[in-house]
């Protein structure tokens, strides 16, 4: 595990166009291989935090550094390369409805320009790991909610993305599904990847190698 900083938010201040202060003085740092779970009530800014990390929104003041680079609105190429290092599940992230499960999973590899053979190898590995072998040629509309989430997990992991952002992963899930998703998150958390999980519900048990934070009043505690 390296101690390379992959996420660093420093004194982030952000308010919406209606004047609501989302973040007042937000500071957050995540080293490579570490994971964090951020709890917060609805409208506390959890999804906005995800948007900051992928360069979809920018702080009014303060800085967002991802993989050692400062994200700014005019640095389109940097934002593109940062996004390619991030896997996303839930919230903003969903599957491409016109692509099959296999096409959705390999999408990050296509965007990275990986070779076809490597794409196939990784696809098979992901389909096997997430028990999706029978769904490879199915379109997202035919999937159950769990399968949909699993495909997103597979997509977030296929290109060995070093950071995975997960938005409300377990909201409204039945106990069996909850266990399955929790198991995958635990697996990822101990595999050396970094996870940033935002959730409004407390997890039933603590994820390994993961620090917990609470997002309230525009800051983390």
């Amino acid at each position: 595990m390296s101690d390379k900083t992959i996420v660093e938010l420093t004194n982030v201040y952000l308010k919406t166009h209606r004047g609501h202060e989302v973040f007042k003085d937000l500071n957050f740092k995540l080293l490579s291989g570490e994971s964090a779970i951020i709890y917060g009530p609805a409208s506390s800014g959890k999804s906005t935090l995800i948007e900051l990390l992928i360069g979809k929104r920018f702080a009014d003041s303060g800085s967002t550094e991802m993989f050692g680079s400062l994200l700014r609105p005019n640095k389109k190429r940097l934002i593109k390369s940062v996004r390619r290092k991030i896997g996303g599940i839930g919230g903003l992230f969903s599957l491409v409805p016109t692509y099959t499960v296999a096409e959705n999973i390999t999408l990050p590899l296509v965007l990275a320009g990986e070779r076809k053979r490597f794409q196939k190898e990784r696809l098979m590995a992901m389909l096997a790991e997430f028990s999706l072998l029978n769904q490879a040629n199915v379109y997202p509309e035919m999937l159950t909610r769990v399968e949909n989430t699993l495909v997103q997990f597979a997509r977030a992991n296929v290109a060995h993305q070093p950071l995975i952002l997960i938005d409300e992963p377990l909201a409204g899930m039945d106990p069996k599904t909850y266990e399955r998703i929790y198991e995958f998150m635990s697996k990822l958390a101990i595999s050396g990847l970094s996870l940033v999980i935002v959730s409004s519900e407390e997890l039933k048990s603590h994820l390994p190698n993961t620090s917990s934070y609470h997002l309230s009043n525009g800051g983390l505690s």
């Binding site: 996303g88 409805p97 016109t98 390999t106 990050p108 296509v110």
Partner: protein, 286 residues
């Protein structure tokens, strides 16, 4: 699948998933291009018709009675120096009398040989580049300035009317061209936008995963080029299919050369490229 393969697959996916939109794009563009093609043929044909008539245009220069024959030599020399005159033929009183007899069918001057009132004249022909109102008027002025010339005649009014008609055809063609350009652009861009809108969620996700704008736009741009060039090609294909079936005996229908057609299809493809980009542009923002 590499990125090139992805782009190709996306083009086919667009066509396969939205056949109605693609078909409507092709049909509407073909119709518009066909309209433009027909006008192009009409304009070229009328141009050729006009050129043929003009090449036969002659100017008659009538000589005053009171000037001696030596004045004719001076006039001939002057006319040789006027730019644009390709030839001139002298028409003596006798030749004029014979021409009149040919025209009327009877010699009206029998018995009045010494009183032939017909003037002597020169019939002038011109190089093609001066066969227009302005240059011919200029030549006319230079000739009329000669003392031995009584007056000059040529189809001035017909020429002015023909030129004005030609200008109107050119203006209408230009207007039609501009109208068709924008109609094709707007209609094709809207078709692209419709196709792209059905995939807005996909674009959004791909942007979140780090897809570049070019990668997302490229299938639509290539599709635009293909649809534009194909529509232009279909239009000409239809015209050439009917070409041999329609013929006129009194004038020749002018068709563009293969080179011009190639350029035209290329331009149509370029128009499709712009439409493709305009159609997708807004959806690429993130």
């Amino acid at each position: 699948m590499n990125q090139f393969g992805h782009v190709i697959k996306e083009i086919f996916r667009n066509l396969y998933k939205n056949p109605g939109t693609s078909l409507s794009a092709i049909l509407s563009m073909t119709l518009l291009f066909l309209l433009f093609d027909l006008f192009w043929i009409a304009a070229d044909t009328s141009d050729k018709f006009y050129e043929n008539y003009l090449s036969d245009l002659q100017m008659e220069v009538f000589i005053s009675e009171e000037y001696p024959d030596s004045a004719l030599t001076i006039l001939k020399n002057e006319m040789k120096n006027i730019e644009g005159i390709s030839s001139f033929v002298f028409i003596s009183k006798e030749i004029a009398r014979s021409k009149l007899a040919d025209l009327v069918g009877v010699d009206l001057l029998v018995g009045y040989d010494s009183l032939n009132p017909l003037p002597e004249s020169f019939v002038l022909t011109f190089h093609n580049d001066v066969l227009n109102s302005a240059d011919l008027a200029d030549i006319e002025n230079q000739i009329v300035a000669q003392k031995s010339v009584s007056h000059v005649y040529y189809s001035k009014n017909w020429l002015a009317k023909a030129e004005s008609t030609k200008n109107i055809i050119t203006d209408v063609g230009l207007l039609l061209g501009i109208l068709i350009f924008f109609t094709v652009l707007v209609s094709s861009a809207n078709n692209m936008r419709l196709t792209a809108k059905t995939r807005a969620v996909g674009f959004y996700q791909m942007r979140l995963l780090g897809a570049g704008k070019l990668l997302l736009a490229m299938p639509f741009i290539i599709e635009g080029i293909l649809l534009g060039a194909l529509s232009a090609g279909i239009g000409w294909g239809m015209i050439f299919y009917w070409k041999d079936k329609i013929q006129f005996s009194n004038f020749e229908i002018m068709f563009p050369t293969l080179e011009e057609l190639g350029l035209y299809c290329l331009a149509a493809g370029l128009l499709g490229l712009i439409s493709g980009y305009v159609g997708i542009r807004r959806l690429l923002r993130l």
